[in-house]
Every structure is written in C-alpha cells, then in structure tokens.
Amino acid sequence: MTDSIRQVFANRKLRDYATGYAFVIPALVMYVIFVVYPFFYTIYLSLTKWDGAKPVKEFVGFLNYERLFADPRLWSALSHNLIWIVLGTVTPVAIGLFLGVLLWRGLRGMVFFRTVYFLPVVLAPVAVGIIWKWMYNPQFGPINSTLRAVGLDVLAKGWLGDPYVALPALIFAGVWGYFGFCFVVIMAGLQNIDMEQIDAALVDGANGPQRLWYIIIPGLRHVLTMITAFTLILGVNVFDIIWITTRGGPGRATHVIATYTYNTAFRESYVGYGSALAIVMGTVSLVVSFIFISIRERGGD
C-alpha cells in the first residue's frame, strides 16, 4: 500500500465515504444498467420510426407524440386505467379498512381470518388471472354454475366476453387479489391507535361511525396515504391480470395503457410508437406518485 493510499484510509471521514460508496455503488450500477439506461433509450426510441427488426431506426422527432393525441385507442385505454384506478383503489382500501376495524378489537380466530384474507396476496397476478378466468368461464365456471343452480340463469353470462361487463369483472378479480394487502397493513396501523381516545369517545357517547371518522381514520392517515399511493401506481401500470385473461378484449373493452403499449410495440411491431406510449405511461405514474407523496408529506407536517 502506498503512502498516499494509507493516508486516505487514515482519514476517518474519507474512510466513511469510501465504505458508504462501496455499499451503494453495486446497487447504483445495477440501477443505471436496468433502469436509467433503458429509460433514456426508450425516450430515444420514442423519437424514431422502427419496426423492431430493421437495422435502421428512422428519426422522426416528435411525430409519435403528435400521433398520440389523435389516437382513440390511447384515450380508450387511459379511460380504462382511470376506472381501474378509482374502483381498484377505493374498493380494496375500503374493504381492508372495514375488515381491519371489524377484527381489530380481538375477535376470536383473528389469526385465521388474517391468513385467509392475505392468502390471495401471495399469489402472482398471473395465477390470479388464471383462477378468475376459470371462475368466469361461461360454460363450466363456478359463478355461472352457482347462478344456474339457484335459478338465476338470467344472470349467467360470458363475463369476460361481454364488453360491458369484462372490465368490472377484471377489477373485481384484481380487488380480490389485493385487498388482503390493504387489510394487513391497516391491521398493523390500527395497533398504533390510542385506545384512551377511543374510550374517551365512548364515554362522550360517540357511536361507531363517529369513532371511525374522527379517531380511527385520522390515526391511520399515514398508512392510508401509503397504501392509496401504492394502489394508484399499480392501477396505472396494471398489465398481467388483463393480459392473462382477456388480452385487452373483447374488442378494446379491457385495454389499458400497458396492454396497449405491449400490443403496439411487440405485436404490431411499432416499436417507436410503443416507446412513446411507454413514456406516457411512465409520466402518468410519476405524476400520480408525486401528487400522493406530496399529500403524504403535507399530512406528516
């Protein structure tokens, strides 16, 4: 070891820096290779016309972005994302909150319920998609079989084949696969609620909904903001459950921006335009994340 290096390591501050960087750099390198580089390369591709196979990528400037605004398929897909974001966020959080509060005060068998509710969360979205594709099967699926068995034949239908029903049916499947996560996080948050406040409210004559609204929900605000932000981002990026079940069909009834992007880039071989769609999707995710992180930080203050 030369004197200069020995001198550097003798300096405690520099040694701390070196140790810190030694831990950070491997992760940073991976991040640059697998996130930063593809991100900027996607921006570059979005400015080209390319079919993904030809050796030459024709630079077209912002033409792909101009096309986006006049593309009815994009607006249709974004509207489905919006529906997914609203229903797919409110519903699992509401169910998680309802079940969490219900089980919070020491109901017997809480461990059992907690396990059962959380079980779908451990399944990969692909598995959830396969399960619900079978559940919704018009000929052999348990849902239609049950409806027919109880004389409600009129309600039995091709759930994933009906353009008017397919999206809500998929959102329901998505909620089933996700509400357990909300439930468990909310249960954890409920452990921090000040019981003295609840008891005081009881003495003051506050009923259940009042205790929920004025004590429990404010006490859970950090948890609720976190899971809401997380669920919203998932709503923008939702792909796998739709691709496994309907591929965006019937017609365009369940296309969201991620499925439309995949279809455009890899099925139709419009890689440049697909990249522009991916940038739009990333931008929407960033905006949604930014808004909710801001709200959360403001709430923390």
Binding site: G161, D162, P163, P250
Partner: protein, 431 residues
C-alpha cells in the same frame, strides 16, 4: 523403445483416433422451431424427423414447440441476438414472416426454389405469399380452405338440408335456435379475439365483392370503407342477428367451442380445414365440410390460404443441412404422413389422393380443393399488416356486440391500412 512405451504410444494413438473419428461423426444440429399442434400432427412431425435423421445420419434435428403468439413475441429478438433457430415454422404475410424478411433476418430461397424445382412441385401461392420485398423466403405448407363443418347425424335426425344459398344459411341459424342447438360460430374468441368472426367476414367479403377490388383494398389502393365493403360487413351483422354467432362467443375458448360441435351441442362449426387435425377417433359423429354458400347476385368463392410456412433463418450456420431438411418436409415420403396422419394438406401439386386412408370429411375437402374451378378469395390477415389485423379483430368483436356499426368498423380499418401504406408495411398483390 521398451514394451511399455510401445503400448502407451499405441493406446494414445487409439484414443486420439477414437476422439477424432467421434468428432468427425458428430452430426450437424439443426434447431427447428415448430408450431404444429394437435396430438396426431405432433406424432407425424416426430416420425418425419426420425425418418429424416435415419436417412441423413450427419444431421440431427432438435425440435422446440411454440404457439404462434410465442413465436411472434420471441422470434425477432432471438434471431437478432443470434439465439434463433435454423429453421422456423411460422405464419406467412406482412404481419408475420414479412417483418423478418424485410429486416433481412431470413434466408432468401430464390436459389433453392430453382435447385429443388419447388416452383413446379408447390402450389403457386407458396411463392406468392412468402415473397416480401421481391424475394421469396418461405415454403408454404398448410394449404387450407375456410368453411363450415356440419354434423351429418344431426342434420339427418332433424331433417335439415345443407344450405345452398346465403339466405338459407341465415335461415338455418334461426332453425338451430328453435331446435335448441348452439350457433355455428362460437369457438376461439376468448383465445383469439376477433379471429373467427373476421374469418367469416373474409368469406362474406369474397362472395360479395369482386376479388380484384379486394386485392386492391389489401394493396392499399381501394379504401376499406367503400360502400360495397361496408355492405359486406352488414351481412355479418345479418348473420349475428340471425343467431349464427354465440352471444357468449368472446368468452369461449377454441377448445371449448370446438367441444360444442364434437358433442353435438352445435350442429355446425365455422373453421378452416386446419381443424381437421382435431377430429380424433373419440369424435364418433361423422361430419361434412362446405364453404359459404353463394350470396345473391354473386358467384360462390372459396377462401384458400397458406397457413404456416417454413423459413430458414438468415444467419444459420448450416444452410445446406436446413435446406435438405426443408426439402424432405415437402417430399413425397413426408406428404402421405402429413395427409393421413396429421390431416394437414401440404401445398404440393399433382398428387393423386384416391388411395389415401382419410376420414370422409377430409376426403370432402380434398375432393373440393382438387376439383375446384371457381373463383378463389383472399384470407385477409395473412396478407394484411399487423396493425390492420389487430384493429380488425377488435372491431369485428365490437360489431358483433352491437357497439360499432359496419361503417365504423370499415373506417377504423381504413385508417390502419392508410397508416401501413404510409409506413410501407402493406403487401402489394395487384402487381
């Protein structure tokens, strides 16, 4: 040199000789990506490969099976990365092989067509439909026709007649409903979106619009939202309203839909002759095959297509061996196996089928094709670009669901064709 040294030397020479000879006899490995499905067809291709390897001990075929969707997803990137196959069984047209051919990822077969005399041996569409940018890249295999299978037992039991006009076909769908049967067009929407309903539109289009106009539309020279083409979509709506389509069709998979036909739940099934391979021995009813009856004022037209095609990859290290295998796949020896075993009709000319051991429904098809002298229509999606196909499949499902009008469907696909023309992704079949 003592005795031990001599023995060591001899042993060493023997070892190197054995290693050397072993190396010399290592067969060339050809990676073959296949999309043949169906148990019988799988058995046939395995037999063909075994026979080929026996006749060519210097070549070993390694077969990997994919679906069409998987091939579409991975072929391009795999070939570019040098991880692709040597030979691939993939679909024809600008949406599939065209993308690879135009990007220079496939081997030109111009010389091979001359060397193996394929222009004489194969039907002309083998070359026509696998020529991209003026170069032929493929050898067509599955020669198909679009039509309807019908259950002979049910037709006899119910006293039904095979329709001879489009109007009779429409009426027959209503009769099926009255008798409690499922409609003829059900299968595959859940798997393939609007493939089946679009395929039936090709039939209607071919029977109601002159083929030169359809060819011009495919080539981007005649708009798809022209009144006569819109009128052909109206006829699809007529079939929908007449109960020819299953209202739950978009939720029924290909296999489940086919099962309705095999079990007699549906007396008719719209499908290409490609589906013959799924008529296993367990399916005991006997079936007939017919093409769409003529539409009033028009001439009955048969939709023929070349389903999947063999391509050789441009950067293969073993073009000679791959070509040898490809030529064997269309040989006389393989032909009988394809027809009798796999129920697939290779696009080979001048074959006498009379002594072939095939099911009557398949014989109907062979007789129909070999004796056909009427007009032949276009199966659009093997000739049209991918963006057009996606929009068409999506839109026809919405047409059947009553969410779009014929005009709206036509307008959508016209926009997509204009985009493809602008980007040079269309096929010019009028020249």
């Amino acid at each position: 040199m003592n005795h031990k040294t001599v023995l060591r030397f001899v042993a060493l020479v023997l070892v190197f000789t054995m290693l050397g000879s072993g190396y010399a006899q290592d067969p060339v490995e050809i990676l073959y990506w296949d999309q043949v499905s169906g148990d019988d067809a799988q058995a046939v291709i395995e037999t063909i490969i075994a026979n080929f390897e026996e006749a060519h001990p210097n070549i070993k075929i390694t077969r990997e099976v994919f679906t069409l969707e998987q091939l579409t997803d991975i072929s391009r990137t795999s070939i570019e990365a040098g991880e692709g196959p040597d030979i691939m069984y993939y679909d024809s047209g600008p949406a599939y092989g065209g993308i690879l051919g135009n990007a220079g990822l496939l081997l030109s077969l111009e010389e091979a067509y001359a060397a193996y005399n394929w222009d004489e041996r194969l039907v002309s569409v083998s070359r026509d439909w696998t020529t991209y940018g003026g170069t032929v890249y493929g050898v067509g295999h599955e020669f198909e026709a679009q039509g309807f299978y019908w259950n002979k037992r049910i037709f006899a039991d119910e006293g039904l007649e095979v329709p001879s006009t489009f109007e009779e076909m429409v009426a027959l769908c209503g009769t099926f409903r009255e008798l409690g049967y499922d409609p003829p067009m059900a299968a595959g929407w859940a798997d393939w979106g609007g493939f089946p309903i679009s395929h039936n539109w090709y039939n209607v289009l071919a029977n109601s619009v002159p083929s030169d106009k359809v060819a011009a539309a495919i080539s981007g020279e005649y708009p798809f939202n022209s009144p006569d083409i819109v009128a052909s979509l109206d006829l699809v709506v007529e079939l929908v309203e007449a109960n020819c389509y299953d209202e739950q069709g978009s939720a029924i998979s290909f296999l489940d839909g086919n099962a309705k036909f095999y079990t007699g739940q549906a007396p008719m099934m719209l499908m290409s002759t490609w589906a013959m391979q799924f008529f296993t021995d367990e399916v005991t009813d006997e079936f007939g095959f017919m093409i769409l009856p003529p539409i009033e004022g028009g001439e009955q037209t048969m939709i023929q297509l070349m389903g999947a095609v063999w391509y050789i990859i441009g950067d293969t290290e073993h073009p000679e061996e791959a070509l040898t295998f490809l030529n064997y796949l269309v040989s006389d020896e393989a032909f009988r196996l394809w027809v009798e075993g796999a129920k697939l009709l290779p696009g080979v000319t001048g074959v006498d089928f009379s002594d072939y051991d095939v099911r009557p429904v398949y014989r109907d098809f062979l007789n129909l094709v070999s004796g056909w002298d009427g007009p032949v229509g276009y199966h659009l999606d093997v000739l049209t670009p991918a963006n057009f196909n996606t929009t068409l499949f999506e839109s026809t499902v919405e047409l059947a669901a009553g969410r779009l009008t014929s005009q709206e469907v036509a307008d959508r696909i016209t926009v997509e064709m204009e985009r493809a023309v602008e980007d040079g992704r269309h096929a010019d079949i009028t020249g």
